[in-house]
């Protein structure tokens, strides 16, 4: 039996060693643990335009569907409709059934509008509206039609004597929205407490005179926060001299405060540039480093290099002397998140003014409308060191490119581009190469006044998360 036991032990030894060797072979692969996160084309989008701010103005609404495909002749499914914002079923006042754009006059009832895109035309769908005063007044005002969001920041808002600012809130969603407002004033004063709990029913809008909540505001900042749901907000500002309007503008929404922001200045070379308003909405003092970028490069203006901004306070500085009227941008680096805007007075153009706020860098193609009677120029700011290349395509109303041009934007410089007169373009598509980021602003200068729109990438895709069931 001992011999048999010895044999068993020997076999057991061998089997154990073999088992370890077998277990040590490369492991098999497991099934995909989850649906991977991926970007998919937007299949439905809704933009909201604030509508005509006053009955003394006329204007237009612009809707464009650039489409996802870059191939000529390709067609997207779906459509784009322009309707009044209303809980009732509305007959479209305009419609796009293929890529291209349409420009419609703003309805006389001043109702906010919704631009709703479905299918392939929803990807990158862009909307804008502009208005100009009727005879006897000046002030071209343009703004984007925006998708609902949670937070909105508006810099450079004035409610002091001689200025009128109005907040427009639109709820294009199917749910009730509850909005809180916060105001940040200048001259070192603490922020002004704003109203809370403003409710908006689905498919409804409201507007408020800002002086009702924050009178006497000089280049202040408003934060619109949706405590529940998502909202579209816009601020229209106008100035009066005596009884006449001398300038109007839609204040562009700014990006969420950040420690590193870039703000273009409007109206390159054609106006007095400019005042910069920097808002510190936080509870700690901000130490801000300011750098000016222009066509020749960057420089730090003497005496303005370092700014201290008290908590919940707005500080305004004048850059008119240091930029000398050339196209420029401001790069701010702060110890705490800040937001900023530049305001340019177009003294030679009927007393109008334009405001540009911080904006998200371009990554996807952006559509910039062409406004009749105004000349479009684009300013690109490259805050990085490497040279960036931007492709600018002028597109007619049917979605066909009429011209295309690559523009090099050197690092740490501002480069301007101007649309040729009589190009026949209805809009311009601006694209940057993959991995490059540029900040751009579109300036409109015409007899009616001046305006500026930060150039914003369209929303072409939405990220579907990786979803994994767990126990």
């Amino acid at each position: 039996m001992s011999r048999g036991a010895t044999a068993v032990v020997a076999v057991a030894f061998a089997a154990s060693a073999l088992s370890v060797a077998l277990a040590g072979r490369p492991s098999p692969t497991l099934s995909d643990p989850a649906t991977r996160s991926r970007a998919v084309a937007v299949s439905a989008a809704t933009l909201s335009c604030p509508g005509s701010p006053t009955n003394r103005q006329t204007g237009s609404v612009f809707a464009a569907a650039p489409g996802m495909s870059t191939e000529a002749g390709s067609r997207e499914t779906g459509d784009v409709k322009v309707v009044r914002l209303s809980p009732d079923k509305q007959t479209p006042i305009g419609r796009l059934r293929s890529r291209g754009s349409t420009t419609l006059p703003l309805p006389p009832d001043r109702m906010p509008l919704s631009i709703m895109g479905t299918g392939g035309l929803a990807a990158g769908m862009t909307g804008a509206e502009w208005s100009h005063p009727r005879a006897g007044a000046s002030g071209l005002a343009a703004t984007w039609c925006q998708a609902p969001a949670v937070d909105w920041w508006f810099n450079g808002v004035r409610s002091a004597v001689g200025s009128t600012s109005r907040l427009f809130l639109s709820n294009p969603t199917a749910g009730v929205v509850v909005v809180d407002l916060a105001f940040y004033g200048g001259t070192g004063a603490a922020g002004v407490a704003g109203p809370r709990g403003i409710a908006l029913a689905p498919q409804s809008s409201r507007s408020f005179d800002i002086s009702r909540f924050a009178p006497g505001l000089e280049a202040g900042t408003i934060r619109v926060h949706a405590a529940q749901g998502r909202i579209v907000a816009a601020v229209h500002s106008s100035r009066t001299v005596g009884l006449r309007t001398r300038g109007a503008e839609w204040i562009p929404a700014a990006e969420t405060p950040s420690g590193d922001v870039v703000v273009n200045a409007a109206l390159s070379g054609a106006a007095h540039c400019c005042t910069v308003s920097v808002t510190n909405p936080g509870r700690r003092e901000a130490l801000v480093q300011l750098t000016v970028l222009d066509a020749d490069g960057e420089f730090a203006p003497v005496g303005l290099t370092n700014m201290r901004i008290a908590p919940e306070t707005v500080r305004t500085v004048d850059l008119g002397k240091v930029t000398n009227g050339s196209s420029a941008a401001v790069h701010l680096s702060s110890t705490v998140p800040v937001t900023a805007s530049t305001e340019t007075d177009a003294r030679g153009v009927g007393g109008d003014f334009a405001v540009v706020s911080t904006s998200r860098g371009l990554d996807d193609p952006a559509v910039v409308p062409v406004i009749d009677g105004s000349r479009l120029s684009l300013s690109f700011t490259n805050a990085e060191r490497a040279t960036a290349v931007v492709t600018i395509a002028a597109v007619d109303g049917h979605g066909s490119a009429v011209s295309k041009q690559d523009v090099n934007v050197e690092g740490r410089k501002v480069t301007s581009w101007r649309l040729r007169r009589g190009s026949g373009a209805a809009y311009v598509v601006v694209s940057v190469r993959l991995g490059q980021t540029l900040h751009a602003v579109a300036d409109y200068v015409g007899r009616a006044g001046v305006s500026a729109l930060p150039v914003l990438s369209g929303t072409y895709t939405v990220t579907r998360p990786s979803v994994t069931p767990v126990l």
Partner: protein
Amino acid sequence: MSALSGAARRPQVTAVIVSHDGASWLPTLLRALGSSTVRPDRAVCVDTASGDSSRALVVEALGTEAVVDAPARTGFGAAVALGLDTVDTWQESGRGRRTAGSVPTPSDDWVWLLHDDCAPAPDALEQLLATAASDSSIGAVGCRLRAWPRGRRLLEVGVTMTGTGRRVTGLEPGETDQGQYDEVRTVLAVSSAGMLVRRREWDVLNGFDDRLPLFRDDVDFGWRMARAGSHVAVSPGAVVFHAEAATRGVRTIANTSARPHRADRAAAIFTLLANSSGRGLAWQYTRLVAGSLLRAVGYLLGKLPATAYDEVAAMVATVARPDRILAARSSRRATSTTSAGQVRSRFPPWWTPYLDGLDAVRSRLAGRSGSRTAEPTRAADLAGRATVGGGATALPVELEAAVGPGSWMREHPALVPLLLLTVGSLVAARGLLGNGLLEGGALLPAPGGARDWWRLYAEERHSVALGSGLVTAPYVVALGVVGTLALGKAWLAVDVLVLFGVPLSAAGAYVATGRFIGSIPTRVWMAVSYGLLPVLTGAVTTGHLGTLAACIGFPWLLRAVLPLFDREGAPTWRTAWGSGLVLAVVTAFAPLTWLIAAVLLGLALPWLAVRGRMWSLPRAMVALGLPVVLLAPWSLRVVANPAEALTEAGLVEASTVSVADIAWQLPFGRLGATGAAPWWLTASVLVAAAAAVLRRDRRTGVAAAWLVLAVSLATAAVLSRAKVPVPGVAHDAFVWLGLPVLVAQGAAVVAAGLAADGLFAQMRRLSFGPRQPIAAAVGALALAAPLVGAAWWLVVAPVGELSRSDVTPLPTYMADTLTSDPSQRALVVRRDGRNVTFEVVAGDGLRLGDDSVVPPQESIRLGRLVADLLSEADPADVGRLATFGISYVVLAGPAPRTDVAMLDGLPGLTRASTDANRLAGWQVPASATTPVRVILARSAAVAESVTAQPSLVSAHRGVWLGAQAVAWFVALVAAAPSLARGGDIGPDEP
């Protein structure tokens, strides 16, 4: 009248002999009376229609006039009364017959009661009278009863009775008379065999109760005498040898119908009910009825159905006649002069029978067959303490030393290590103590109570995740049993199993090794080494309850299985059933156990054939097949889905880590589990196991251990490439290899222990050579393994994936709603950047046991819906939520504002009241919620088995449960040791 010739002096003593078919013993009795140093003044014999020569023998010895004939069914008390009446008639013909309660005369007369199967020592009556004369309050004196005919084994030195009616003599089983009861003691009662009772007390109490014809009449009489104010004493010098012919069934007594147990139990119950205090009567009724039923179950388990029947029949016959009991109580009230409380000290404490019952169960489980009439140690001890008046006999010094705590420790040498391991468990669990439920890794939090486990097992459809109709795994029942024993506290059961797994495993290992290891230190080493395995391998820290429970159960499985392959003797069927039962319990927690056992049995076949022991195979097959039957219908579910055999109790971990990179650590019991010890800590055990093959005289056992080790490692190797679906989740996971690795480590411990057993003595016998240093070195290495392992365990106190949580992730009102309404569910979503996880919460969430009923299918559609909600939410998504029975959507916080805003914009979703810093919640309108349970299936076949027409396995849950209960009962009865039948008293000295 007949007077024995010889001494006749005051006080007068009348001997009354009751005879019935006692020819075998009567001559001895009559000879003893003749040689008595003090003879009774009168003697009378009542013969109850003996069928043998008893009457002739008595007539020959005492004369015809001294023999009174009585019918066969005359009870002992009635016979004595008849004899005394006859004597009275002879003595005073003019006074007439005395009646109960009349003034007795003469007051100092004594009656000596004698059975025909007893024989007094020559000085017995003299000693009795001396004791009686020592105290005027003594009403009756008993003898020191010893085994017939001249044995030294003690039968009785006084008797008392527990509250359950068990007769307690206060003696150890087989206790010999060594003079340890040489002092006069007051007791509750004495045996009627040799009892000397004062005639006056006899008459006042009207003698023995006629309703107790044979059994318990003595206890009842003593009890009544105590209540009447007299003492019953034991005269230690008066020795009577007693054959106990009726008790042992040596002869049949007509009035017991050959069912002594029934008669005895009926008498016991009657005695208790007749003499108990009025206040405690209701409680006594309840206690006796419940106790009788419980005892009947015990007899059934002990394979004594006739006795069980007797038990119930006796109880029913007694309690169903309250008129008899009331009459008896009435007559006792007439003679009582003291309260029930004054005689309470003559009874054992109330808990005595229960502790004795536990002792008996333990004894049975340990495989020892005890005597039915033997008294357990505790009873003897407590009965001894219950006696009063006589003073406790001081134990001899050597006896005290033998029963002191030191002796107990010497008898249980593993106690100290086990206590240290228990304390060590508390120390090592310091990071896991506190409030909240233990969870983490594969361990789900315990449910609210043990009844939740029972409910989960019994219900046909489960409110788990999206709903399930799967058969619950039977380990839930085992947890239910443990939880019920823990007073219904499920958390306590889980805590004990998880946190005290080490001492529990070690205790089992120590017991199991007693079958094949002789050296106590070696057994202690093996127990500690084995007990630490679940900690060192990381099974505890990863929450693998199945592996842990199997680790606790393996030693018992080994202990049960070993006799099947024992070299000596043939295994019994009982062993096979017992092995199957233990295997079923372990398999319930870890099904891999059954697979390994099957492989091992297959490999053992050649060995059985070579050894000519193939007849063991049927028993082994029964042991192997029994779990399949006992665990049905779950076992059928496993057969249908074999991958489930590779899982175990608890969650299937969603681990995507393969052991391929650390395969070389498998023999050392390491799997890369979180919280596992370094591999080298126990490497020396494997070295010792390898070195064990050098010991030739143990090579067979060592080879068997190595075979187990190799099979376990091979199982681990094969399964390292296998994948199992994670229930309720959309992907597979690698198989948890903790069980085979732990079995391999356990086998290594056994191999090393086998070689170490007796090694020291063997080495000492051999002349010095290289073997001794090698053995010393390997022994030192092996000894270090548990020490170093325990030190690591205590110092590091690994927590691993375990934690305690007491906060439900949902708001209280939401959790209450889900708990109260099983049709409602909450979709809990957590986002981490672009990665989102979701779970469906039903009831109070997923609890331990629910893991076995979570459908294996993945919820792809629900996953898509979640992705839609967090990317492009559409109003139609609310309706889609409703189709899944979702009542609440919860974004666990802090949830991204964009996600919250997205859901805010969905018409139909109403923001629920939540702590925004923790989570955001929405309520799906009730009108939108469809009260349907949706179970997504990977395949149509599986879906059909779960959702459509109930299958044979999932349907008729009640029928299955009933059949399963019957199967378990039959298996338990078959595996239980048989209770000894009457008359199994051990051999006495000649």
